[in-house]
């Protein structure tokens, strides 16, 4: 075997194994309301009500100026749904798979080179991926599921502005993506009171116990000081778990709210989500703490909200 043959063999083996070299991501922060040359006139927060999750996503994105504002040709996209539990879609513990599928299809339409999806699950990861039906949705849409169940998939990152959380083991895919779309499902949460946009980002971190042991609300808020923030946050509030969350004990815990929120502001979108959950945003400590970090605006009065009813 000569050198050429060896290189050909080695690279084909690597290709067969989906081997990937580290990727240097180019992240660009886009403000939903728009700024500079892109012009303004877009809202800070889009809220849609009354349609199927897929319809509502289309309407929300149309109001936000289209996904093309956020996803550019040739970019690597990370979609982070909530896949935390070994539950079926009807049980409302994980993001609606149809929504995940539709969003990935739209990403590819906007020119994305690849779309990756993962979650550091609470239950056995394979059971979560498959029973949530998100794995199938991702595959059907042409996206890629990543593994996140071993520490080896994570890398350490400093959070200089963090108060309790000063460094974090974060999934490598976060750093190697150009665009990150945070796609949680809205649920009641026994510990954090509510899980929506900010709480969903605990699923890209390796050591959750550190959050719980140290100061849950402060750590959730500290994570939002990360330099590379989610490009876009979309909250699935079609079926909302109103109690016994985040896992739920039966479908009696679910209320059909038929809503969807979209914003680039994690704090604003969580404040609105708390209202849908019939909770008081001021009692969810991490919202105020994140606002104090200047990660977003908690006062909905100050925001331009576009409300769409289907």
């Amino acid at each position: 075997m000569d050198r050429r043959q060896f290189i050909a063999l080695a690279s084909s083996l690597a290709a067969a194994y989906n081997f990937k070299l580290p990727y240097r991501a180019v992240a660009e922060e886009v403000k939903l309301s728009g700024s500079g040359a892109a012009g303004t006139g877009f809202p800070d927060l889009v809220a849609v009500m009354g349609g199927t999750p897929v319809e509502m996503l289309d309407r929300a994105l149309a109001a936000a100026g289209g996904l093309e504002r956020f996803v550019k040709t040739g970019q690597k996209v990370l979609v982070k749904p909530n896949i935390g539990w070994d539950k079926t879609p009807e049980e409302g513990a994980n993001t609606t798979p149809a929504l995940v599928k539709h969003l990935i299809e739209l990403c590819f339409k906007a020119g994305a080179k690849e779309v990756n999806v993962f979650d550091n699950t609470c239950n056995n990861w394979q059971a979560c991926y498959s029973n949530s039906q998100i794995e199938k949705a991702v595959k059907d849409a042409g996206g890629t599921m990543l593994m996140a169940h071993e520490e080896g998939y994570y890398t350490e990152l400093a959070l200089p502005r963090g108060v309790a959380l000063k460094k974090v083991m974060i999934h490598k895919a976060w750093l190697e993506s150009d665009v990150i779309i945070n796609l949680p499902i809205l649920k009641h949460h026994g510990g954090a009171r509510m899980t929506a946009a900010m709480k969903n980002l605990m699923g890209v971190v390796w050591d959750r116990r550190f959050y719980h042991r140290t100061d849950l609300h402060q750590c959730i808020a500290d994570f939002t000081t990360i330099e590379k923030k989610p490009t876009l946050n979309i909250i699935d509030a079609y079926n909302v778990m109103m109690r016994n969350g985040p896992r739920g004990t039966s479908i009696a815990d679910i209320a059909t709210k038929k809503m969807l929120l979209l914003s680039t502001d994690m704090v604003a979108i969580d404040t609105a989500a708390a209202r849908i959950l019939e909770a008081k945003p001021e009692e969810i400590a991490y919202i105020a703490k994140a606002a104090a970090h200047n990660s977003g605006i908690a006062d909905l009065e100050k925001l331009k909200i576009e409300r769409i009813t289907i």
């Binding site: 809220a47 609470c122 056995n124 059971a127 599921m145 593994m147 510990g191 009171r193 209202r275």
Partner: protein, 499 residues
């Protein structure tokens, strides 16, 4: 004869490959065990109440009665492992196999001791010599931990896409268990190196049963007196050491049906024939001494544990769902560790520090690496001896295998004054739930009546070194009844946005 040998070789190779792959990567090849394990003699005996198991047992015994111990060279994982060891060590081992004495009395004594002890409720001696469990212990204790760790460490370097290497799951490590497994593997290797399949005709309890039946086999290998030239090639090829050319005798009761003798013979002097008389076997048959040894062994095996182990009840452990009671589990489990390597959440661990001889090598639940997943009933489905009794998936969801204890004085809500809620978050039944506490805090509250003991709370509790919430074993596994959920006050779709 060559064709028969080749068929034996292929069948054995297929079975060994299936066993090894299943033990190394149960997630991918586990189905092989569900095909092969029902054909293990130990399954037939322990699960006799099942028609399929009784059928398999009868089939094994009938085959032996017709053609001898075909089982030992095609279905027994430990027999096949010995053949593999023999093949691997042959390049260093120039010494040919040699005739072995029958050791009938010793074999009968060991068999009777182990079975007598198992009947008396102390199954450890049987578990350590039974071939299926010995194979399982070796692979679960030595090879699975090794390969899984290699897979785990290489996968993240190569790719984070879902791939086969990365799907390998690392099981909780038990040093004691791995040392026992290493000891068994070393012992077996030395025995094979020195004297071939001597284990099968001295120690193996399955061998003892089949040996007794093969004595009366209808068709058997024998040496044709006229054709034999006394060249001893067959004697040197016989792994079981059951050929004595000087006497022109082949003890078919000890023959493990590898047919190497027949294929080694240049004069076709070893033939598979209808047995003519039993007279020529008299030199090797179980004599009066063996019968006496069996009687003495059975009595000793039954009485010794009864007297020596009286009052040494094992400390209570959380047992796999389906074990029902510690008594049933410890008296039935043969320590094959199939549940250990199969558990997808890696919570079944062989006892790290055996507290009592009765719980030696037996698995118990350890929530360090995960929780007993509510939707999983795999261990109860695969246990070959029904030490973990089958529980339907829908019933398993509410099977109570332990009970929660909350230690408020250790909890971060109490000690740090911070919200946490990790335990309640993970609890599948809300036996742990968060209730209002002072200063806008929420604190866990437990309801043991609906606790299933899955260990989710203990697994996720962030407090160290002692966790603030732990699960205790229960005396008898039962089922909880979930209260009927109340409807939400208003689950209708709102007319307008609440902001």
């Amino acid at each position: 004869m060559r064709t028969i040998k080749n068929i034996r070789l292929l069948a054995g190779l297929a079975a060994l490959t299936a066993f090894v792959l299943a033990w190394l990567r149960f997630d991918t090849f586990g189905k092989a065990v569900s095909v092969l394990a029902p054909w293990q003699l130990v399954h037939g005996v322990f699960a006799l109440s099942l028609i399929s198991a009784a059928g398999a047992l009868i089939a094994i015994l009938l085959t032996t009665l017709l053609f001898g111990r075909v089982y030992c060279s095609t279905l027994c994982p430990l027999g096949l492992l010995q053949d593999l060891i023999a093949r691997l060590t042959r390049r260093f081992n120039k010494k040919p196999y040699h005739t072995l004495s029958p050791y009938s009395s010793l074999h009968a004594l060991i068999f009777a001791l182990a079975v007598g002890s198992a009947v008396a409720g102390f199954i450890f001696p049987l578990a350590i010599i039974e071939p299926f469990s010995t194979f399982g212990q070796i692979f679960a204790g030595v090879f699975q931990p090794l390969t899984a760790r290699i897979f785990r460490s290489t996968a993240p370097i190569l790719s984070s896409n879902i791939n086969w290497l990365g799907q390998a799951s690392v099981k909780p490590f038990s040093l004691f268990n791995s040392l026992v497994a290493l000891f068994l593997l070393t012992g077996l290797t030395i025995a094979v190196y020195k004297a071939g399949r001597i284990y099968c005709n001295t120690i193996c309890p399955v061998g003892a049963i089949l040996r007794f039946i093969a004595k009366f086999s209808l068709f058997r290998l024998s040496i044709n007196q006229e054709a034999c030239t006394n060249c001893k090639l067959c004697e040197k090829a016989c792994k079981a050491g059951c050929i004595d050319v000087a006497q022109k005798a082949l003890d078919f009761s000890r023959c493990i049906s590898c047919y190497n003798c027949a294929s080694s013979c240049n004069f076709s002097a070893i033939r598979f024939e209808r047995a003519r008389t039993n007279a020529d076997q008299s030199a090797f048959s179980f004599g009066r001494r063996a019968a006496l040894a069996a009687l003495a062994g059975a009595a000793g095996g039954y009485l010794l544990p009864k007297t020596l182990l009286a009052g040494t009840e094992p400390t209570a452990q959380i047992l796999p769902p389906g074990a029902m009671t510690a008594e049933h589990f410890y008296e039935t489990c043969i320590s094959c560790h199939l549940c250990v390597i199969a558990c997808p959440s890696s919570v079944i661990q062989p006892h790290a520090a055996p507290a009592s001889p009765k719980s030696l090598l037996k698995p118990a639940l350890n929530f360090e690496l995960g929780m007993c997943e509510q939707n999983c009933n795999l261990c109860s489905q695969i246990c070959p001896v029904n030490a973990i009794q089958p529980v339907a998936a829908a019933e398993k969801k509410f099977m109570k295998i332990g009970e929660v204890e909350y230690k408020k004085h250790l909890c971060v809500v109490e000690t740090e004054g911070n919200d946490c809620g990790a335990c309640a978050e993970h609890c599948p039944t809300q036996a742990v739930r968060m209730v209002p506490y002072h200063n806008n805090l929420m604190i866990p509250e437990t309801n043991p009546d609906i606790c299933i003991g899955c260990g989710s709370c203990e697994h996720i509790c962030p407090v160290r070194p002692d966790r603030a919430i732990i699960v205790h074993p229960v005396v008898r596994q039962t089922f909880i009844t979930m209260p009927k959920p109340e409807a939400l006050p208003d689950s209708g779709q709102p007319d307008d946005f609440p902001f």
